[in-house]
Assembly symmetry: C2
Amino acid sequence: MPGKHYLFTPGPTPLPPEVREVLARPAIHPRGPDFLPPYERVLGRLKEVFRTEHDVLLFSSSGTGAFESAVANLTEPGEHALVVSSGHFGERWAAMATRYGADVDHLRYAWGETPDPDEVRARAAGAAVVYVVHSETSTGVVSDVQALGAADKDAGALVVVDAISSVGAVPCETDAWGLDVVVCGSQKALMTPPGLGFASVSPAALAKARETTTPRFYFDWERTHQAQAKLDAPFTLAVPLVLGLDVALGLLLREGLDAAFERHVRLGRATRGGIKAMGLELASPDEDRSAVVTAVHAPDELDVSAFLLDLHERLGVQLIGGQGEWSGKVFRIGHLGWFDILDITTALTAVEDGLAAAGVEIERGVAIPAALGAYDVARV
Amino acid sequence: MPGKHYLFTPGPTPLPPEVREVLARPAIHPRGPDFLPPYERVLGRLKEVFRTEHDVLLFSSSGTGAFESAVANLTEPGEHALVVSSGHFGERWAAMATRYGADVDHLRYAWGETPDPDEVRARAAGAAVVYVVHSETSTGVVSDVQALGAADKDAGALVVVDAISSVGAVPCETDAWGLDVVVCGSQKALMTPPGLGFASVSPAALAKARETTTPRFYFDWERTHQAQAKLDAPFTLAVPLVLGLDVALGLLLREGLDAAFERHVRLGRATRGGIKAMGLELASPDEDRSAVVTAVHAPDELDVSAFLLDLHERLGVQLIGGQGEWSGKVFRIGHLGWFDILDITTALTAVEDGLAAAGVEIERGVAIPAALGAYDVARV
């Protein structure tokens, strides 16, 4: 039979069939009457999901592009910026801000550590902008962005949050927590293919952007802000992705954000419960907030690449290894977006089978009951 | 019955069903084994279609984003650049290069004029980079980019070509004509939804980019060049669009580039033949090279917006009006990409009916025979 495929990566994530269906629709024009109703809905639904009353600017780009919009619009060369990193993506933002000429103070935690709000508060003094990561997809750490944001505001800085894999999966209260810029991508908890990036922008951030002189055009906030105010876009939008996002956001809001957050917490518990039951060691924190992706220390004797390839070839299962300095040392199981408990038990079953095939000694037959127990089906 | 829809805009263009079908496939990971074969094919097919042996860099962005990659990578602030414009997009590139700090000489032709290679040669002296438009989608003018490129090379400049709506529709011999950078977008003659942009980059252009200091990250050529060399991408690609592009480029190459160019020439002749037969006046040049989009002067008594809305509401036909200074003064019929002669006769039929409904005096019943005659079916 043709192989079945199972995608358990922390982005791109699986697509609901309702989303896939609209991707295949005949082409429509992004400035024509057929596109405007879904586009208007998307802009409104993004605000609901970001929990903001301000603009959520939409870019046809990856999440990194949307993050670059923050750096390009907020950086005045030579100005002091603090970048807080504890993994691959935080380090990317430090490199990016440096490339844009910011005077970067890089508060660099070890991979897998969780940034400490008090330390961030002390370092944020004098910074015009502080960049923090909410969900560090490379490690599974979800930081306390409410506390980090408060620390930055105490210091008088604008706070920019990489929430690329957190919005829709874990709480991110843009306005209530005073987060000036929250960046997200379509292909994570928002259940849409990659190709769209978002940045919510506070009035203070937009005002700052009007003063900075760093060159930008495609990612210029003011241009997109003004266009969206007229239900237009400055550049041709990736139409099918916007239509898919409309459907996906509708599904998410129908479930309810709080219900989705609760589901992600329980999927995280289930994944960690299964992994620990096998006798494996977690690389990501064993806490409820870590509800996006679980990173697992690879046993010493395991060749991670061969293990992942075996799972793909024999079972059609796609997991992913580590990035950067965690390359070859961990494998990761995503549980964000269109995931339910049976996805988790399938992923754990594949992990158990793949490790056994690789000759790794693990506890057999205990992961699934542990996962189901941790998910706590009875309490639904 | 649910309305049928007919898209006759110069991008986004209609999607072949083979392309639409792959857009709806279940999600796959862009670094997994399922994605690499189509990705490798796409990178190879882009080189064939661009007629280059060098890299065609792929960005998840609109065509403007890919064009910005040229400006961001080639601009050293204060260096002299020549921008040749004769319509909306050329003017956009002048604004963009200015925003990036180039010392811009803007050789500005009136909308609808065709740039003169001798004039460009004279003005190009001393410019580090010359920006020219191959197909000016706003007016229908297709310039003689071979001659313009030669003029720029004579002056010792790098030549950057906006070929967003020309690659795949009219000849663009990147290497043979010495074009350093050729920029295209997915949603024009390449029959794929919007959301991907491309820039072919000559070794000289790449070498220049390694020296410039203008900040960029997402659109940095070297980063994408190095990733593509390893069949990777620096940022998450818009997976469904790449899969669609693979299929679309396969269709184009199976037809054959020369056959596609010939088809576009004949579709342009047919469109102009029908328009002229009705007694309307062309705004775009009445020449074979103008094979991408036909701009038509709106009769004085016509409200273009109301006319376009009427066509959409009564007949499901989507044409488009003018941009910028041609807003309200022209309407445009695209004939690039997945178009055949019956699309043209349908578009002309709609135009005739819509003008009649608007009370415009035109010749009735002559456009279709004129179009068929101009297309010259007998010579196929």
